[in-house]
Symmetry: C2
Subunit: 330 residues, 2 copies
DNA sequence: TTGTAGGCGTTATCAC
DNA sequence: GTGATAACGCCTACAA
């Protein structure tokens, strides 16, 4: 392994000069700096992160936590994060926290063992809370995606789910639908609650009866949408539209409708939420609410990076715009 | 920050005893070990990974490289890796290598800077080669997914893409199709080459003419499948079936067929490759080749973990079974 | 069974 | 501008 000592020897200087030269710090003659950099390149030198972290107490790592890294909803967020992180010189450390965040100690491990400089936590599970206190206490900057917490030290990136759901439902109402079902997400999640609320508000505003029996809860996955739609079709044959809390479930719903021999949107109109990549390729292409997922990821890293550089202070609350993408399913 | 010194002080022993106790090494009285562990828990102690890595020269980290972490093909692989890694106490370090592996220095960084104990590299881009030499030289164990290299020190996990493609095409032929197009993947990738070869072999064996003009190349993404299918429909209206090199492109193809007002499988039969989660929810549900992606991920980590423990030797070549999943698109 | 001492590669402090 | 020197937290001979 090539170390700064080796370079120092070759350059005829001391290790400390090498360190300063390589880190672009002041107090090194330009010519020696160039010499050292050349030698470092020649010797194929790469710094030892462990040694550096040990003394600087910084890791240039950002921890990223989410419920399930394999969910398609997250991929663009991750990509956005990656993009900024790699440019800013940060390494991303992912963790799936399938269970309750509090129960696990992944957070402790990330903070204490791995010494991450900051964290991004994606998700709105209302049981995952309290970890903010730990983070605040340790003074580790963090960004919450899909949450909107009013706190002068907490950074949040979110979209107005209630308004988005309202917009989607309103769209169906304006198309003339009167009996509109809702396939909700897991109501332990704030986003599911908000989307349900938006749906209900639109109904109420239009004087349509709010019927609990028209709301079905799933867990954001295809299969749940499929089952929920089957239930709707059999229990409410007069239902002409459905607003689904996310696209994955909407795919399942489309499937159930097709299998029942019905047509979309003629017999049943469907509106989803998220605008996943495949939503343009369903049959028919899905009308849905677009979330700026890539932007969410990018922004989260940009915020964190600025805070870590001291160019920005904690307490950023960013509400990103959504958009109703009208395709052919409604 | 709580260190082993703090624990040592509280327990009235020396730091080395604490280290041995916490790492379950021999030479510590059972009662003191228990005492130390209790104190460590009370003090909320977590070891400093940087310090440990510096002295042990191991990181308990596995580097994972793939072309694009946001591709749905990878998600189940990642999940499988995660599952085993978290149990075995390894942390996964991801890297997108959008470009040519050689050009970037991510590999060097992973190996030298981060000191990963092992690597998993997913992908079959034939330009990404030569890195094996570096890895072999550094004696870092690694597993290649989607590659089949015969080398006594290289570990590979793959499926027989040629045979799978042959199976898919044969299936179409047996259904009576005589003019079958192929939407190939990016032919810089071995898997795309193999799938094309399997397709051609099936045609040849059945005495069907091999027509280059029936093969279209895409880059494994929806949009390319869509465009390719449009081209096929306009250039070969007598074509009755298409074998697509991956599901993402098959989604695009289905879309193009629908838009042309044709029915699947009545007018055009479609067979995909991968069996992504959504393939059961397309319209009609996609007939495709299932790759055991979750297994691939799991196996890769199991192999690496065993090799790192010295329970297994390098040179493992694992060919996993594929499966033709017949749904309704063909 | 326990303690001491040295060192892993790097950065930071303070002389020169 | 440069060079000793002392950490950072942990592990591991080796000594007691």
């Amino acid at each position: 392994m090539v170390t700064i000592k080796d370079i120092a020897r070759r350059a005829g200087v001391s290790p400390s000069v090498v360190s300063r030269a390589l880190n672009n710090k002041y107090g090194v003659k330009e010519s020696t700096r160039q010499l050292i950099k050349t030698i470092a390149r020649e010797m194929n030198y790469y710094p030892n992160a462990a040694a550096r972290r040990l003394v600087t107490r910084k890791s240039d790592m950002i921890g990223v936590m989410m419920a399930d890294i394999s969910e398609p909803f997250y991929t663009q967020i991750i990509k956005g994060m990656e993009y900024v992180a790699s440019q800013a010189g940060y390494t991303l450390l992912f963790s799936n926290s399938y269970d309750n965040l509090k129960k696990t100690n992944v957070l402790q491990k990330m903070i204490i063992t791995e010494n991450v400089d900051g964290l991004v936590i994606v998700g709105s599970n209302r049981q995952d809370t309290g970890f903010t206190d730990l983070l605040l206490e340790k003074k580790i900057p963090f960004v919450l995606i899909e949450r909107n917490i009013q706190h002068e030290k907490v950074n949040c990136i979110w979209i107005d789910n209630k308004k988005a759901a309202y917009t989607a439902t309103k769209f169906l109402i304006e198309k003339g639908h009167r009996k509109i079902a809702h396939i909700a997400g897991n109501l332990k999640n704030q986003v599911a609650i908000d989307r349900l609320a938006g749906y209900e508000e639109a109904l109420k505003e239009s004087g349509l009866p709010k019927a609990d029996c028209l709301v079905f809860e799933g867990n954001f996955v295809c299969a749940d949408g499929y089952r929920a739609m089957q239930a709707i079709l059999s229990m409410h044959p007069d239902c002409t539209a459905v607003f689904v809390a996310n696209d994955s479930m909407a795919y399942g719903a489309l499937q159930a409708i097709h299998e029942a021999g019905l047509a979309v949107p003629k017999d049943i109109a469907v509106v989803g939420f998220d605008d996943l990549e495949f939503s343009a390729f369903t049959n028919p292409p899905l009308t849905t609410i677009r979330q700026p997922r890539y932007q969410m990821g990018k922004k989260s890293m940009q915020i964190l990076s600025k805070i870590l550089q001291g160019k920005e202070k904690n307490g950023i609350n960013l509400c990103l715009p959504f958009e109703l993408v009208v395709r052919n399913s409604a």
